[in-house]
Amino acid sequence: MQAEPTAPVLSLRGIVKTFPGVKALDGVRLDLFPGQVTALIGENGAGKSTIVKVLTGIYQPDEGQIMLDGRPVSFPGAQSAQKAGVTAIHQETVLFDELTVAENIFIGHAPRTRWGLIDRRAMRARAAEILRSIGASISPAARLRDLGIASRHLVAIARALSVDARVVIMDEPTAALSHKEIAELYELVETLKRQGKAILFISHKFDEIFRIADRWTVFRDGAFVGEGAMAGTSEAELVRLMVGRSVDQIYPKRPATIGAPVLTIAGYSHPTEFEDITFTLHAGEILGFYGLVGAGRSEVMQSLFGITRPSKGACRIEGQVRVLRTTAQAVDAGIVYVPEDRGAQGAVKGLPIFQNVTLPSLPRTSRAGFLRLAEEFKLAREYTQRLDLRAASLDQNIALLSGGNQQKVVIAKWLATKPRVIILDEPTKGIDIGSKAAVHDFMSELAGQGLAVIMVSSEIPEVLGMSDRVIVMREGRLAGEFTGAAMTPENLVRAAVGISQQEAA
């Protein structure tokens, strides 16, 4: 499409960044060109977010050079990067609940009056303008805490655009957005491109990358592996560069014999979150739950796990009525849940790996309430090895593991309880393609052994590739159930969006 650009706006050379015990970046290079989207690809922990933080002045590199228009610069703080025209939508939320939308957008660089006070009127007006430009109908005066998750994300995008930037960085910007908003984001990227801005786009979704990127750069284990134009490459090629080997099967679903019903949910309802949820889960089955982000799937799953209390409805496990009011009751009943939010809900950071694994199994590894460390190590080793965990020792703090490996520890923790039903909520969200295949493979194996599996996912290929049956949710209600030939992308999306809306569009 475009000719090879002449000079990069921003280029990095030989950047090294070490954290205690980890070399996050090891002499990487990166070039960003005006009017082009560069996709940065790499496994979890490859150092993508770290380079973003170096570029935005949050981290100082140990070595290496940042060059703006060919001249070396340094960003000693977030403000200085902003002044130089570098702005970013970060992977983590960077917003403040108690502040207004306008304040969130302008915090750190608010317009001032003559007296040095914040000029609230100017700030609101400019915030409204930016929000309008990205098609967000959010009031600048609204308190952030009153907004939903998608609106928050739009505020984060508006915040990045509030800086008069030449370089815009987006670190997995679509992770929390729905279809419609993703489409709008793509349009925004096009607009920015037309304005001649250089864009760095980080994502694990290949369809997305192929759709909007002009160039690619791949990192592996904190090192630069290669770069080039999107036009001359293929998905297989990029995957090979990323993981250092080819991944042939991302969805290794093996046929399993579907057995008797294990879990029967009838009429589960909650005053504000979900209504009339009814379904049956069988042994050996992988039941996919699809829906747009915010459809309420996690809420339903958490109610099965005793976190949210349903106001109505009944739960039977192998025919017996069970009341699930606490997570302990759910675990007793054989239902376990691998949460979506790994950092906050999955891993007990600060405890070593083996203690994470044995946490729900302590009654089994201890005697009369007294710990038996040998038993714990044995149990932890058994299950972590089955998942091919990569760790220096079982005594290592789980916080030091990469996201994918943390996920393996969380899964191992639950398998060690020998559950009847395992619920995996977005099990591969934010996980690189290699680990993703491993998790899928394992899921398939579990089902093969007769375990009943529920998989919540927002990715259609994953849902279709792994499930025996798919239930779709929309706005807190069931919106359809599909098996066999009916399991098509069109059917799922139509149910998830709502037919009428589809027709209106």
Partner: protein
């Protein structure tokens, strides 16, 4: 409707109700003159609560404010004894309070020691320093100069200067919190410290600033306290830090940081101040005071915390319509 939902409004109503109850037993309590007296009496609590509020907003706590107050007050009294004019003493104690606050702030900022540990330590150190300065001796009214004692009592437009200082501090801090970048930074740092870094706001520096402000206010209050009660000794205001924290909590300042308003802190302080002043007047045995203020704190936290409960995500359309 939305007005009624705000914590400040609930608190204001509670204060009015409290005054009404007191007035029913003792009408003289709500005469303007007496209310002015209560306000004057509560001024130290208001001033310190303002400082504590900024510290709590940044996810910290300052247990050393009362000791800071006592030390600065003692230094003010000693300076007065040496014949230093009030015009010098006043800025000096404010700077000194700020410096003592800065010590807390630096330990929190540069060494990352939790604020509760730091201020637990400096609390005893500051108070102990008073003893080292004076060998425990008291400085009594007759040893203090008249101008020194007169300033806080001087009545201007019906209110003593002491109360005016509190009013001015409330107005200034209210403006600063709402309209200065640093004021907004307090909320950012307490609400989401991680994100504050991304927005170019230094968490440590903001916490430091909050400690310095709290210290400066404590220093100023130190002088006012000593001048008002006309006596300085080691134990001045001992335990007052808990009253200050209680005022903030009653005023709806979230102890986890990031939420709360100047108005809330002021009303929390007034609420406690009114109770303290009213009990002896209404004729309730002073032995009831502690239990009553304890219950008030508990009720306030329950109302504030339960009222602030996360309503959930409200996915269902009809549920959204209802709220």
């Amino acid at each position: 409707m939305t007005i009624l939902k705000s914590r400040e409004a609930i608190l204001a109503l509670a204060i009015l109700a409290l005054l009404a109850v007191i007035a029913s037993r003792f009408p003289a309590f709500v005469t303007p003159g007496n209310l002015a007296r209560v306000l004057t009496d509560t001024s130290p609590l208001i001033l310190l609560a303002l400082g504590q509020m900024t510290v709590i907003l940044t996810k910290c706590i300052d247990l050393s404010v009362a000791a800071n107050l006592a030390l600065c007050g003692m230094v003010a009294a000693l300076m007065d004894g040496m014949g230093v004019p009030l015009a010098v003493i006043l800025p000096a104690v404010i700077v000194m309070g700020a410096a003592l606050g800065a010590v807390n702030g630096l330990l929190v900022w540069k060494l990352g020691i939790p604020s509760i540990v730091v201020t637990l330590g400096t609390m005893t150190i500051y108070r102990g320093t008073i003893f080292l300065l004076t060998n425990g001796a008291w400085i009594n009214a007759h040893q203090l100069s008249d101008p020194f004692k007169a300033l806080p009592r001087m009545v201007v437009l019906g209110l003593p200067i002491m109360a005016w200082i509190a009013v001015a501090a409330v107005a200034l801090l209210g403006l600063a919190v709402a309209r200065l970048p640093l004021g907004r930074a307090l909320y950012a740092v307490g609400g989401n410290p991680h994100a504050a870094g991304y927005a170019g706001i230094s968490v440590g520096r903001t916490q430091f600033a909050a400690f310095v402000l709290a210290g400066a206010l404590a220093g100023l209050t130190g002088y006012l306290w000593i001048a008002r009660y006309a006596v300085a000794y080691v134990d001045i205001a001992r335990g007052f830090e808990l009253d200050v924290v209680a005022a903030c909590v009653i005023g709806g300042i979230a102890i986890a940081g990031g939420a709360g308003t100047v108005g809330g802190a002021v009303m929390g302080a007034l609420f406690l101040g009114i109770i303290k002043n009213a009990l002896p007047v209404v004729g309730i045995s002073p032995f009831w005071q502690m239990a009553i203020s304890g219950s008030a704190i508990l009720i306030a936290i329950a109302v504030n915390t339960l009222g602030r409960r996360d309503p959930g995500r409200i996915i269902l359309k009809q549920a959204e319509a209802r709220t």
